[in-house]
Amino acid sequence: MTPLAGCLLVSSLLFAIGLAGALTRRNAILVLAGIELMLNAANLNFIAFWRFGPHPEFLTGLMFVIFSIAVAAAEAAVGLALILAIYRHARTSDVSEITEMKG
């Protein structure tokens, strides 16, 4: 097994775990955590394809990942703020209970 294949296997495992968490958890914070896992699996792929790709001398992959982490941090902050606001309003963070806007 090549190092690239090993990296991809880990990243896809991480993505699957994150997806499962995002889809099955009821708690909004845990759903957000699942999403973070899937995002990091994608970052891992960036690194892996950069490091074992044809031009490792350019720092393109690293740059993408640093951007991605920054954006993810901002996104997590917004997501947590939303969850806090919803919690204050509905007194719960269970996503299946927040059905006010359902038609």
């Binding site: 997806l19 889809l23 099955t24 299946s96 059905t99």
Partner: protein, 704 residues
Amino acid sequence: MMPSVSPVWIVQNLWLIPALPMVAAGLCALLKRKERGLSAGLAIGSMAISLLLSLKAFAEALAHPAIQVKIVDWMQFGDQWIQLGWLLDPLAAVMLVMVTFVGLLIFIYSLGYMAHDDNFGRFFCFLSLFAGAMLGVVIANSLLLLFMCWEVVGLTSYLLIGFWFQRPAAAAAAKKAFITTRIGDLGLLIGMLWLYSQSGTLVFYNKGFGCLEQGALTAMATHATVAGMAVSTAIGLLIFCGAVGKSGQVPLHVWLPDAMEGPTPVSALIHAATMVAAGVYLIARVYPLMSGAALEVVAWVGAITALFAACIAVAQNDIKRILAYSTVSQLGYMMLGLGVGGVAVGMFHLITHAFFKALLFLGAGSVIHGCTEEQDIRNMGGLRKFLPVTFATYSAGMLALCGFPLFAGFWSKDAILHSARDWDLSRGPFYLGAIGALLTAFYMTRQMYYVFFGPQRLTEATITPRAVAKHVPHGNAVEPVVSPRPGEVCAIEDPHESPAVMTAPLAILAFFAIFLGFVGTPAWPWFQNFINGIGVAFAWSGFSEPGLLSTMLISTLIVFAGLLLGWWFYGRKPIVRVTDPDALETLAPPLFRALGNRLYVDEIYSVTVIALSRFLAVFASWLDRFVFGGLVRLVSWTVTGVSWLDAGVDRFVVNGGFDEGCREVSRGGRLLSRLQNGRVQTYLSVIAAALVVLALWLLWGHRG
């Protein structure tokens, strides 16, 4: 006698003669009931003008005895024009003068007779309409026009017989007259249609193209139909059916005696002088069509009618009914005359009869009027003293009817008997006619003795009304003889003479009843020659025709025998009491009863023809109700069933299917809407599943 289209004014405007009384009738119909004088004036005035025009037409016919015609187009059928028209020939001219003259006298007489009636105006309206239609029959140059006027005549006859329709008997008699004559008219109508299909025209004379002219006649005479009979004979016999109905010949004579329920002037005008003679006139008019075989039938029917009706007249007790049967009998003579002797012989008797029979009826009306509506001759008696003018004129009419020598009826009846005696085919009609003449003299003598001689029985009769007449138990016969006219008070009073307005026409008619015969004596046969369109000269040698004098002798003897027999039975011992039995009844009760019941002809009809038609009516009603009605009901039930079925299908199949479809759609919607539950996680699960499937598919595709 080549017909020609004449430019003469009177021929061009001959239509005015029937039109004037018709217009008068129309105006009378519009007048208020209380305008009595005006309506009578209109009727009489129009009749007088018609008489003047008729005299002018008569003068024209005297000057030019050829047939003069005027044809007018009436309406178009496809490429053919139906033509109507009128004609003037001696036959029509004589009839015109007779109808207008007798009609005028009867109109004037009606002024007196109907003076107390509420519906005076209606009476004159109907009389005028009748006169117009009758004159139309006379001048018609088309069988179609003749038929139309003929039917109007029938209608007015119906209206006038039923003039006092409050009386059930009058209403029934009117219906009977109308229906009975309709039976004959059916034959006439069929004959007319056949004639049209054979000759293509119904115009009598039209410059060689009419249906009574040589071309059409030859075609019809050579064309044979069933049993080798020529078409013209068959058509002639069918037309004769109409004449049988109208002129009261056996077997359709039953309506005429009942028609006496109408007012007496009506009986005189319509049912004695003019309308019933229309049948005779019709045969005279279509005479060229009548071949030997058809004339044979005419002669026999006439002879049988002459005797048959005379027999019945012997045993009647109603003064008008005796005259009615005598009319039937005399019409039989006219038919006999047409059959054996030709147009002139029949028409001569028609004209003389019109005068003396109108006289007799008006005299009878005067008697009835004088006796306050009494009509039973047994209740009269001795009226000679009370009604001298009526008695004198009535005697003249009676002698003319009997054929007393030198009176009008003598000459005309003698001509008929003479022709019948000379008839090649059979002597039968002559014997029938001769016996009829004997009976005529007998029953008229009987009537005279009952009415005018002996003691006066009227007062007795009014005080003790006769029990229901036992001779004539049949319906409307004599039973309620004393039936007060509506709107008139019936008071017990002595018989009285009628006013001058009634006796003057009697006197004029009596004059003609005595002297009219002299226009057609064997020595000076002006009338016959005029009808036949030839000149005339006076010659005593006319009497020397073989067999003529002996016939005259025979008929004179017959008349005297009849008068003597009448005297023997009724004059020898005066009839004193109302309840005295009839002399003939004591002699032969069953015979008298049978004759009194009119030989049961009505009864025979009621058990045969009427029963049959009633059975047919019941059968038709049954057929209608159950068979055709059943079919209709079946169809309606089928339709109802189909519609029920349709409604069921609609309700349960179509509607159900539609509802089911709707439910399915809505269920599908609900099912689909469950997918869209608003939970992001669910949506994402689907996406994830799709992603997995997509990844597997890609991997599968690149596995090798």
